[in-house]
Amino acid sequence: MNSLKVIFDRDTWQEIFGSISKNKTRTIITVIGVLWGIFIYITLSGAAKGLDNGFERQFENIARNSMFVWAQQTSIPYDGFKTGRKITLKLSDIDYIKKRIPEVEFIAPRNVRGVFDGSVPLVVRKNKSSNYNVYGDFPEYSKIATKKIYEGGRFINEEDIKYTRKVCVIGERTQTELFEKDEDPIGQYIRIDNIYFQVIGVHKFIEGGGFDNDGDILIPFETYRKIYNTGDRVQWFTIAAFDDADVVAVEKEIKATLKRIHRVSPDDERAFGGFNLGEIFNKIVGFSKGMTLLSLIVGIATIIAGVIGIGNILLISVKERTKELGVRRALGATPAEVRNQIILESVFLTIIAGIMGIILGAFVLFGLNIATQDLEDFPYTNPTVPIPFIVGALFIMVSLGTLIGLIPAQRAVSIKPIDALREE
């Protein structure tokens, strides 16, 4: 009898069914072992994937290869300057950087009033007033950190820069604090430090690190420059490298270029500060990859433990069934038939348990997904287990089930029918 025929033969399954349903408690306990293993595996790897997706979501609003660079004080005397010189970034730095470092995709200088220096601007509308940070921005900024603008509004554009327009994008909180509930702020005017600005958009606040908040008002860079008399000075650059660039290297190059421009010692580590989101993003990606690997290892180890449990139980079961197997052999069952039966029992139990575990794990992941859906801050989205993981797990289970089934099967065959029959 060839083995494929055995597997698809209804009678084979009837035999297997008969013998595993003989002792229901034992079968259930056996199944629970593997079920638990695959359940842990599915839940863990799904959760790891959810975490992975969650991190991705957290970073979806900012270019993954982005960084901030700002100027500080020198710490090494150089080129005739003494140490402790204050460096200020200049608008002209942008062209240098763009020319020297082709990996830079966007570079947006930013200035802010009310965070590092100057008083927090007073913003007035009709009889309401409050203090908000005001940023001077270029349109490029929206390409590095996606600012979601509510419908009807827009971000600062080239024209705004060109004509030094007095327009502004306000935050959600600014809207609720300065405007009535049913009022459309777009097209309305607010007074920022006694200058009237027209509101062109409301940005949705997204926690992205840094000192952004939901009250921020963004105005065109050129306008900011004029109002606050900042000249060429830039507080910091927001820079995005191309996707395939190595962000750490790009950051180094940018700093080196800036050091050359501002005549700072190449060894001066303190002159320029930087915050590399790309690097942090890569670390988080590495972390979640590690989590996935961990869940894979733990899951597979648990599956192995479960399958070994099945082997163990079958070994006991074979001992209990010695006589039955002897009778079968006396009735003409070949050793191969007996062996196949035991192995198939093992594989069958493993697969049933595996499928049940997968379903159970899927339910738990589904529940987790629902439970965490409203938690914006919790980095957990769409926990799924990739199909190859499941197929791989099933494959591991079937092969382990077969291997582990071989032990009791071999034992069953190694007992001579005569001894098996004699056993009382």
């Binding site: 009678d11 009735l331 065959v413 005569i418």
Partner: protein
């Protein structure tokens, strides 16, 4: 049907070996009903096991239905058992989680017979032992005599050349024993060669020939006038 020449068998018991069969010569013709008698330890069960290919002799020839039985591996032995032999055991050895019908059809399953044919054939044999109505019952729901009848039906189902019965009445009371012997006699009358191992003289008297073993040798081999079990029932 069965020819045995100079059969030896010993078991190793630690350092010493126990000689169980010391040169057995036996010829059994087709259609015979032979009782193998002897006290325990006389080697009668060992002889039956060798005949049943459950055990292998150390020395000697064994020819079954003109087929020399030697150098058997387990797979070949299983095939021969399935083809040539039917077993009836003292403790019935029915598979307890299978119904009477499933038990009877088990040897047919191992013969590779299709499911439907198998069930028809098994039901037919159950009918012959008078248990057609008990087909769907589990062994635990049957009496000892019924169990043995199911076991006989199972042994017959594969249409064996020889039926080997090891103390078939050993676990049964007298009345039931006679019922079972009646069944065995009827099967014999249909032409089947049957060997019965027993130590009960009355059961032996119901066979056509008695072979007595003692200490591993045949001490007596005689034809007897068969007592019909039906006369007691």
């Amino acid at each position: 049907m069965i020819q045995i020449k100079n059969l030896y068998k010993s078991y190793k018991m630690g350092t010493s070996s126990l000689h169980v069969l010391k040169g057995i010569d036996l010829n059994i013709e087709e259609g015979e009903l032979v009782a193998i008698m002897g006290s325990s330890g006389s080697g009668k069960s060992t002889l039956l096991n060798i005949l049943g290919m459950l055990d292998v002799a150390d020395k000697g020839d064994y020819i079954l239905d003109s087929v020399p039985i030697k150098n058997l591996n387990e797979t070949k032995a299983a095939k021969y058992r399935n083809k040539f032999l039917g077993f009836v055991f003292q403790s019935f050895n029915l598979i307890n989680y299978k119904t009477a019908l499933e038990n009877v059809s088990l040897p047919l399953y191992y013969q590779g017979i299709k499911r439907k044919e198998r069930q028809e054939s098994a039901l037919d044999y159950l009918d012959r032992v008078g248990l057609k109505n008990w087909a769907t019952h589990l062994p635990s729901e049957l009496s000892g005599g019924q169990k043995q009848r199911v076991a006989i039906a199972r042994a017959m189902a594969s249409k064996p050349k020889v039926l080997l019965a090891d103390e078939p009445t050993g676990a049964l009371d007298t009345t039931t024993s006679y019922e079972v012997m009646d069944l065995i006699q009827k099967i014999n009358q249909e032409g089947k060669t049957i060997l019965v191992v027993t130590h009960e003289p009355d059961i032996a008297q119901m066979c056509k020939r008695i072979v007595k073993l003692k200490d591993g040798v045949i001490i007596e081999d005689k034809k007897v006038n068969q007592v019909l079990a039906s006369s007691y029932v």
